[in-house]
Amino acid sequence: MNYNLTHLKELEAESIYILREVFAQFENPSILFSGGKDSIVVTHLARKAFHPAKIPFPLVHIDTGHNFPETIAFRDNLVEELGAKLIVGSVQKSIDEGRAAEEKGKNASRNAIQTITLLDTIEENQFDACIGGARRDEEKARAKERFFSHRDEFGQWDPKNQRPELWNLFNGKHHHGEHFRVFPLSNWTEMDVWQYILAENIAIPSLYFAHERQVIWRSNTWLPVSDFIQIGEQDEVVTKQLRFRTLGDITITGGIESDADTLAKIVEEVASARQTERGNREDDKRSETAMEDRKKEGYF
């Protein structure tokens, strides 16, 4: 008799357990859905965890207004297929209402001010748990995250004073107005996520596959040409065959040159990658502690 699970099956069992704990321990949980592969996998796992019932969480999208159109189309399709509820928090609305101020200059992005919209959306909807797809292998501050990560009434993270997490015992107790961020994929690596997408044949946006696109070379990466970036005289617009390893706001997500146009080829490419996947993310490059600083304020 062989009672061993493969690593993917064991990770899946752990994540499903976490998602069910969220449902049982919180009154008003939601999934933070970016349209990226990690939040797609979380949503897929939630579907498994509560089958044959529907996913008991709404999908929350914080919309910077600077989207890849493919991401939005994918999101709307998935929501319809799942029969899920979609809640959109609009960064544009936060700006229009004067709650957030747009950055200026060539490298301006709406990445940092998303936090304002995110926290407003959490407060407005009174979410007491927000499930995210962040993984510990992604970034050094994220390596310190708990599965159940406490946020105070200001939405802030206190990394030096986190609750210990032991065995399978997760403590989601909180006071009114506080909330938790929950990360079911904490123990997954980029490779695990891709292998799982391949093994389960999960649909993902076409942006992850190699395609031709107009780009400019900026900050050591190929940034897509869109209505939302300023193209200077010295910028040279070229057409490249590339794909995206992570998906964020179109102004900060750089592509990598690639001919990986199938899931199998992507897995192969990830296996031989020599740069981390967030290496093409402008938002992480602003300082050594860019992620930690943003996370303390309430970022994803």
């Binding site: 061993n4 699970l5 493969t6 357990y17 529907k54 490779m191 990658a273």
Partner: protein, 439 residues
């Protein structure tokens, strides 16, 4: 692949093996914890494992190089790879458990890297709670020291199934077999007092890579496996309990639609044993009996399911089952009791007052509890039981007697790490203040 504008096509790759898509699909998962004191080379060892297994990316190394230069170091400090927070990098200390990931074609590894100094016990207990293997580092020059004993006692208390003692810095004792043998003898003598089932010893030099990933040419007298080979091959199939059937119910799934009108599924993660359709089961604490009708998953029903799978059970009879209940076999049940003897590790700055009350969480159930008596405080360097000083603070380990408001469905921690563990939560602050193992 590099992203420089000049690189038109992927460079031939020397650092990472090319993998085909299904290459890693049948790997197992092994979790291990590393413990060591400040200068015993723990970071170097982790750095070595990550580096030699090709798990470090170029931009990570580049970042660490730059940080090392900024700090005025002449070498690339691999410890910076394992530190996550700003304060940790500034102060050069590790504050909190950090999780690291690497994989070989055989296994995926999760390292819980626990700091060697401040809040040592709290962090090591946390890392140890889910580990299959404890790596204990001993400096070959110093031999078995107090710190080694503390690490080993915690590994034993937390019932980590396998202990690997790495005698490090063998290069500094001229790779002498006598040094290694003496440390092994000393350790075995000390460990005979502990409840550890599987202890192995490996002489290594993390700095030079001897016996970490590659066999040492300097220690031909050593006939055992390298560290990585050991981690890849240690038998972990028996680490889960596959004998005593335990299914703590997390939540009840009721789709309430036409297709599944009367469907009631009990969702949970199997904490012990193997379940099959047709099994006679008892639901605790109610004592109602029924049979397993189906074991449901998204992919369809299963013929059997075992720990640690997450599944949904349906029962033949329509009985009242809810979160916190446990489904077990009729002839093999946990012990329902309101008085539990527990080994507690205190995790909070604020210690317990006499007869302090806390919320206790055990599997998926939760109730109030009171610390009725502190029996003794355990000295984790000597195993001495102190019955005089019962003042408990952060990082103390003590044996207590707890009284709960409802019976808890207890197993001994020795028998089952999932159904034998508890946490205590302070109702005022909501913090997890203690972790306990049922005796």
């Amino acid at each position: 692949m590099t992203d420089s504008p000049k690189a038109q096509s992927p460079k031939p790759d020397t650092q990472k093996p090319k993998a085909n898509a299904n290459h890693y699909l049948d790997m197992e998962l092994l979790r291990f914890t590393t413990a060591g004191s400040v200068d015993d080379g723990k970071s170097t060892l982790i750095g070595r494992l990550l580096y030699d297994s090709k798990s470090i990316f170029e931009d990570q190394i580049e970042q660490v190089k730059q940080s090392s230069e900024r700090k005025g170091l002449t070498h690339t400090d691999l410890a910076l790879l394992t530190d996550g927070l700003k304060d940790e990098r500034e102060q050069g200390i590790t504050i909190d458990v950090a999780y690291r990931y690497f994989a070989t074609p055989k296994r995926k590894f999760i390292i819980a890297d626990t700091p060697g100094h401040i809040q040592y016990t709290r962090n090591m207990v946390t890392g140890a709670s889910t580990a299959n293997v404890a790596l204990i580092l001993v400096d070959a020059r110093n031999g078995v020291v107090e710190q080694t004993c503390r690490h080993s006692i915690i590994a034993a208390l937390l019932q980590i199934p396998h202990v690997v003692v790495c005698v490090n810095k063998m290069d500094l004792v001229d790779y002498k077999q006598e040094v290694f043998d003496q440390i092994k003898t000393d350790y075995e003598q000390f460990a005979s007092k502990l409840d550890v089932k599987d202890v192995r010893f490996i002489p290594i030099s993390a700095l030079n890579g001897d016996n970490v990933v590659n066999r040492s040419e300097k220690m031909t007298w050593y006939e055992g496996s390298t560290l990585l080979y050991t981690l890849e091959n240690i038998h972990i199939g028996s680490d889960h309990n596959h004998i005593d059937c335990r299914f703590p119910v997390q939540t009840v799934i009721r789709p309430k639609n036409d297709a599944y009108h009367d469907y009631r599924g009990y969702a949970g993660r199997i904490a012990g044993g193997v379940f099959k359709p047709g099994d006679s089961v008892t639901v605790l604490p109610s004592g109602f009996t029924s049979k397993v009708k189906t074991i449901e998953t998204f992919e369809g029903p299963l013929e059997e399911a075992f720990a640690p799978m997450s599944v949904t059970l349906t029962l033949e009879d329509n009985i009242d089952v809810s979160r916190g209940d446990m489904i077990v076999r009729d002839n093999n049940q946990p012990n329902p009791t309101q008085d539990v003897e527990v080994m507690l590790c205190w995790l909070n700055n604020k210690g317990p007052m006499p007869r302090s009350k806390y919320t206790i969480r055990h599997t998926t159930s939760e109730m109030k509890s009171m610390i009725k008596e502190i029996r003794y405080k355990l000295d984790i360097s000597t195993l001495h039981r102190n019955e005089e000083d019962k003042n408990i603070g952060m990082n103390d380990i003590c044996r207590v007697s707890l009284r709960t408001t409802k019976p808890i469905l207890s197993d001994s921690y020795r028998k089952n790490r999932q159904t034998g563990s508890i946490i205590l939560v302070d109702d005022a602050t909501n913090e997890t203040v203690a972790a306990g193992m049922i005796i």
